[in-house]
């Protein structure tokens, strides 16, 4: 406990010199009271972040540049419409389609009513550029790929960035955010995305966390979905030593729908903590969730699904499922549904499974001439496909399939060869 106090003091001391807006000052005051999250907090029961806030950590944004070649390499085949380097927009690569308005401001313009945890407060304190995209009414501008890249200078620092996307009525928005960096050193990324989905809009937000092996990714998606609008959220995690994905969705208009899905495939000593929180604030709102995990080695996957159905939010339909596939005896899954239902005419289903590859399924495939290695891969693909199929934007889905099936597996096989 003493140690954490010191860590918190160090963070506060470093932040003293910052020039804070009034919102940031409020966040600072809250952080001062609460400090870093820790396992005694219900919402952080399984995740300790202390190790990623050492004394030597630089609590501020750092400048840095990447060459074209480096950007291309880190983009891994993605054609970006927007590139952020160390949390700052790089003008060179901005290429936003018609129907999208783009603004940068130095103060917070998002929803002030969302409750925040202290890492989210930290985000508000440290963010220097507040990026805002507006998807214009009735428009359908196609995919917007956003690359978040870090440079070597970001090692041993915490960098914050923040994106607000206003998705206007009747529009169709497809947004994918990719988080990547050269695979070296420890860094600490803190990014928030706020989405407002107006009436009748159809939005998809895909988040792809392939951070460096020693990094801590903290990410938070907060969305408000209005009447008859739909938000598909997908969180894909294969990178980072530790990642924490907060997903907070308020369904505020009748007929609003939230589809909140995810896939996390971990190995080594990786840990990924997904915390989804869906608020059914009014009647006739729907939510559907599927989170799937493939956990190898000594990795640790966590899913918490909090669903709150507010009083008078009748005829709500909500379902939640978390399925975990353990590929090693030492991999570990924690899963908790948290349902708070204050209305009475409501359908809420939830379930969770934790299991290994089935011996009988493996033997069935092997009895059909398929090698044990290929049989395992086939079964793993079969397992994750159900989750990937939730992604609406076909190219993004194909890209992630490929990422998972080639690079990720190639990596595992490479490692197996090295160990042998």
């Amino acid at each position: 406990m003493k140690e954490r106090e010191e860590l918190n003091k160090n963070i506060l001391d470093q932040m003293m010199s910052l020039n804070l807006s009034s919102d940031a000052q409020k966040a600072f005051d809250r952080f001062k009271l609460q400090g870093l999250p820790h396992k005694k907090l219900e919402d952080y029961k399984y995740t300790n972040v202390d190790a990623f806030f050492p004394k030597a950590l630089n609590i501020k944004a750092v400048a840095g540049e990447l060459t074209n070649d480096q950007v291309t390499k880190l983009a891994r085949g993605i054609k970006p419409q927007l590139v952020l380097i160390n949390g700052k927009v790089s003008n060179e690569y901005s290429n936003l389609p018609d129907g999208v308005e783009f603004q940068i401001s130095d103060s917070f313009t998002g929803n002030k009513d969302f409750p925040t945890d202290s890492l989210e407060d930290l985000n508000l304190i440290l963010t220097e550029q507040f990026i805002k995209l507006t998807i214009k009414k009735d428009s359908s501008p196609g995919i917007i790929n956003i690359l978040h890249l870090n440079t070597a200078e970001a090692i041993n620092s915490v960098g914050a960035s923040r994106l607000l996307v206003n998705i206007e009525a009747n529009s169709v928005a497809r947004i994918a955010e990719y988080f990547n960096s050269p695979d070296q050193g420890s860094y600490n990324r803190n990014h928030m995305t706020e989405l407002t989905v107006a009436k009748n809009a159809n939005a998809e937000h895909v988040k792809v966390v392939t951070e460096g092996a020693e990094s801590f990714h903290f990410g938070s998606v907060k969305a408000t979905v209005e009447a008859n609008a739909c938000l598909h959220s997908f969180t894909f995690t294969t990178g980072g030593k530790l990642s924490r994905n907060n997903i907070n969705i308020d369904l505020v208009g009748a007929g609003a729908r939230g589809e909140v899905n995810g896939l996390y495939a971990l190995r080594g000593s990786q840990q990924c903590d997904n915390f989804s929180h869906i608020n059914h604030k009014v009647e006739r709102t729907e939510s559907e969730q599927l989170f799937k995990a493939v956990l190898d080695d000594v990795s640790h996957g966590i899913f918490t699904g909090k669903i709150i159905v507010h009083r008078d939010a009748q005829l709500v339909d909500s379902s939640q499922l978390n399925k975990n596939l353990l590929l090693s005896k030492k991999a570990h899954a924690d899963t908790r549904p948290q349902l708070e239902v204050y209305a009475d005419d409501v359908k809420c289903a939830h379930g969770a499974t934790v299991g290994q590859l089935s011996e009988e399924e493996l033997f069935y495939l092997e009895s059909r001439a398929i090698s044990p290695r290929d049989a395992k891969i086939m079964l793993c693909h079969g397992f994750v496909q159900e989750a990937l199929d939730k992604i609406k934007h076909v190219e993004t889905k194909k890209y992630l399939e490929n990422l998972l099936y080639t690079e990720y597996e190639e990596d595992i096989h490479q490692r197996m060869r090295e160990e042998a």
Partner: protein
Amino acid sequence: MIEIKNLHAKVEDGDEILRGINLTIKPGEVHAIMGPNGSGKSTLAKVIAGHPAFEVTEGTIQYDVNNKLTDLLEFEAYERAQKGIFLGFQYPVEIPGVSNFGFLHESFNEVCKAQGVNEVTEEEFREFLKPKLDLLEMNASFLDRPVNTGFSGGEKKKNEILQMAVLNPRLSLLDETDSGLDIDALKIVSKGVNAIKNKYNAVLLVTHYQRLLDYIVPDYVHVLSNGQIIKSGGKELALELEEKGYDWLTKVQ
């Protein structure tokens, strides 16, 4: 084709299930194995196919590979399948998320690869499948569903014989392929097996019912009881069993 001598097998930390099986099957032959529930029929089929849950504690299985009797126990299940051994499951396994077509295609190509034949593309394979589907009177829509998932009992059994037709095995072990089939489906499945059968391959049928043997006529019938073959005979033995049950045999023992 296969020579099984004094085969003993058990599950890890379990009692012996197979207690000295002797069985020789030659190319072109059809053998039927009958016997009470729990006598070890499925176990025998799985041990031949290489199921890892069973441990062979004694005896040998020799199998003809390139005209040479070879120790089959040296090979893993997938290698045995590549060498032409096929197990039709009593309970075919459902595999959600894996498409039946992709699975059949991969399986077929693995066998092609192992036997030094060119692999086929998806399009070629779809063409190749057409007559096989027709033979079993199966709708092509089964190909695009996940393996066995949600299939009815009879559909699962047909899917097993479809796989047999695709892989064209030398030794087929069909474990209660007839159970769960209605009369029409039984005829279709039998027609399928008979169409695949020739003088170079062999079939081992596990069944409880004489009825199947009206359609797929065996050369030999064996009775397995308590892990041993206690009686062998021609196809008339099946009729006798149908009439008298197993008591008269097990009691003599």
